[in-house]
């Protein structure tokens, strides 16, 4: 089996996508913020360029603390950029807007509102439709994320996975053009996470929103995305893009497909270069060492991928 010998399409600029009708166009985006403790500005993202086509599902992975969440916050309009340009449909992003909706890492649900009240929340703030329409739309979304019957439950009565479904429904209820997901499944247990990944693909398949998904889980990134973007270590920028040419709809057992593992391996190596670089040590290849590939991992440990949730 040939692994990681460069046969898969890689685009190191991240820019040849999208073209004139790109949904999101980030050009040389830099983001600073102020660190109170060290009393100096901190460069979190440095020259990130990325284009996303309409209805494309893009995952961003990168070493932890590489600025990928910062980048997502800027796309949502919560953080100002300090250099470059960031455009949605050709319009610069300056503040949050109804054309984008974020699914947060923590469910961030109002604990004093019911599931229904929380799903309505975004619509209510945006005041775009009447109260009754909001109710109808929220109920529709609750059905879509599979929470029918829990409309009157409070968030504290739900499991973590159910809370994230509400979080997702709240974002989808506002009918955004672009869905921003900030490690939404990171806090879930392994089984729930796999189920939620499949659920997300099902829901995405029904809505076909342009999606930007941040994660540190490479498997998750490959499983979900049309394209995986690897960020460099801090200050983050796009290191490489990998097109994930796997058929949709995808079932969970695709995670054991050799091609899947090859993608995973390739992205791992790309990230590992970054992590190694951070230690100021020569890259692994120079020392004659190499991280065992995902396939070898699996050969050694047949349970590595488990059978959880495989249908």
């Amino acid at each position: 089996m040939a692994i990681g010998n460069g046969k898969l399409p890689v685009d190191h600029s991240g820019r040849m996508y999208g073209g004139p009708n790109a949904k999101l166009r980030a050009t040389e985006v830099s983001i600073h913020y102020w660190i109170e403790r060290s009393a100096r500005p901190f460069l979190a993202v440095n020259g990130a360029s990325l284009e996303i086509r309409p209805a494309e599902f893009v995952s961003i992975v990168g070493p932890s603390g590489c600025g990928k969440t910062t980048f997502l916050n800027a796309v949502d309009g919560l953080l100002p950029i300090s250099g470059g340009s960031l455009e949605l449909n050709g319009q610069p992003i300056v503040r949050p807007g109804p054309d984008r909706a974020m699914v947060f890492q923590q469910p961030s649900l109002l604990p004093w509102r019911t599931v229904l009240g929380n799903v309505i929340y975004g619509l209510e703030l945006q005041r775009r439709i009447s109260g009754r329409e909001r109710q109808e739309r929220a109920r529709e979304l609750i059905r879509l994320v599979g929470l029918t019957g829990f409309e009157q439950a409070f968030p504290t009565e739900l499991s973590g996975g159910m809370q994230q479904r509400v979080n997702l429904a709240r974002a989808l209820a506002t009918d955004p053009e672009m869905l921003l997901l900030d490690e939404p499944f990171a806090a879930l247990d392994a089984q729930t996470r796999e189920f939620m990944q499949r659920e997300l693909l099902r829901i995405w398949g029904e809505t076909r929103k342009t999606a930007l998904f941040i994660t540190h889980d490479i498997k998750e990134a490959v499983y979900l995305a049309d394209r995986v973007v690897v960020f460099t270590r801090r200050p983050g920028r796009v290191k490489s893009c990998v097109d994930i040419d796997l058929p949709r709809p995808r079932e969970l057992n695709i995670k054991r497909d050799p091609r899947f593992l090859e993608y995973e391996d390739q992205i791992w190596n790309s990230i590992e270069e970054e992590v190694r670089g951070a230690d100021d040590r020569p890259p692994a290849s120079d020392r004659g060492g190499r991280r065992p590939s995902a396939l070898e991992d699996k050969a050694r440990d047949p349970d590595a991928y488990g059978d959880t949730g495989v249908v």
Binding site: L78, L110, W112, E157
Partner: protein, 283 residues
């Protein structure tokens, strides 16, 4: 070749027992709801009975420790004489106006101080100063300023209650979950919407703590204010009774204040429960 496939029928699922014979662990007993109330009431009854017996046997002279019956007799006399009503009216006004005013001013002020760092920095020295000194020490000053009528006592009550309300409300706003604020902002909330949907409901528990503490200070203010100088009031009645060794009557005043405090604290707890139906286990 004959395969004999014995398709095993799924055995019937074990039927659930008709209802548990013994109590399931965690299942509340029939009186569980009232358990706290019953135990508390019983303990008070025992205490009062022992007290009455001790008083009846005159273990301590009545001047020092009147019994429950002596106190209730004094109470009846106080009512019969009719002087209870003007006293209660004056003390009640002092409490309601003073406490009400401290809520009307304290809540918005606390919210603003919690939200705007600058305002907090500007006002914090004053709040800290007033919260640190025993405010009853200001009573003589307030009586010089506002006279011995009801106004000076309203001022004492107001100053007693407001700082607890301000400090707790501000803490409530500062302790809001930043994730909720971020989510609201992300969905395009303006300041008014953010305040109405996140800040206000999110700080309710802190606000109610502030009100409860403030209420305690307010009652202290009524008593102490009237002890220093007043024309009417339950506190004044206690002071007079104390000076003339009518010990039972002093106890009557105590009981009136205690009852007021318990009733009002109870009202606040009701409000709190009403706002916290979403908490997993309201206690």
């Amino acid at each position: 070749m004959a395969f004999s496939v014995t398709a095993r029928r799924p055995t019937q699922a074990p039927r659930a027992p008709e209802g548990p014979a013994a109590r399931i662990p965690g299942q509340p007993g029939p009186l569980a709801r009232y358990e706290g109330l019953l135990v508390g009431a019983a303990s008070v009854l025992v205490f009062v009975a022992v007290w009455q017996v001790a008083a009846f046997r005159r273990v301590v002279p009545e001047l020092f420790l009147p019994g429950p019956l002596d106190i209730s007799n004094a109470f009846v006399a106080y009512v019969a004489k009719g002087s209870i009503w003007p006293d209660m009216w004056v003390s009640g006004q002092e409490l309601i106006y003073g406490f009400g005013l401290s809520i009307i001013i304290g809540l918005p002020l606390g919210m603003l101080m919690g939200w705007y760092k600058r305002l907090n920095e500007a006002l914090d020295p004053f709040v800290t100063f007033f919260y640190s000194i025993p405010r009853v020490a200001l009573t003589p000053l307030l009586i010089i300023w506002f006279g011995i009528g009801i106004n000076s006592k309203i001022a004492v009550v107001f100053l007693g209650a407001i700082f607890a309300i301000v400090i707790n409300t501000a803490a409530g706003v500062r302790n809001l979950d930043p994730a909720l604020i971020k989510a609201a902002r992300s969905f395009g909330a303006n300041d008014a919407q953010l305040f109405r949907t996140v800040v206000l409901p999110g700080s309710v528990p802190f606000i109610l703590t502030g009100l409860r503490l403030g209420l305690g200070h307010a009652l202290t203010g009524v008593v102490v204010g009237e002890l220093v100088a007043a024309q009417l009031g339950v506190g004044l009645m206690m002071a007079t009774a104390g000076a003339t060794f009518q010990t039972s009557k002093v106890f009557v005043g105590l009981v009136i204040f205690a009852t007021t405090g318990v009733v009002m604290t109870n009202i606040l707890s009701r409000i709190e429960q009403r706002f916290q139906t979403w908490k997993p286990n309201p206690t």
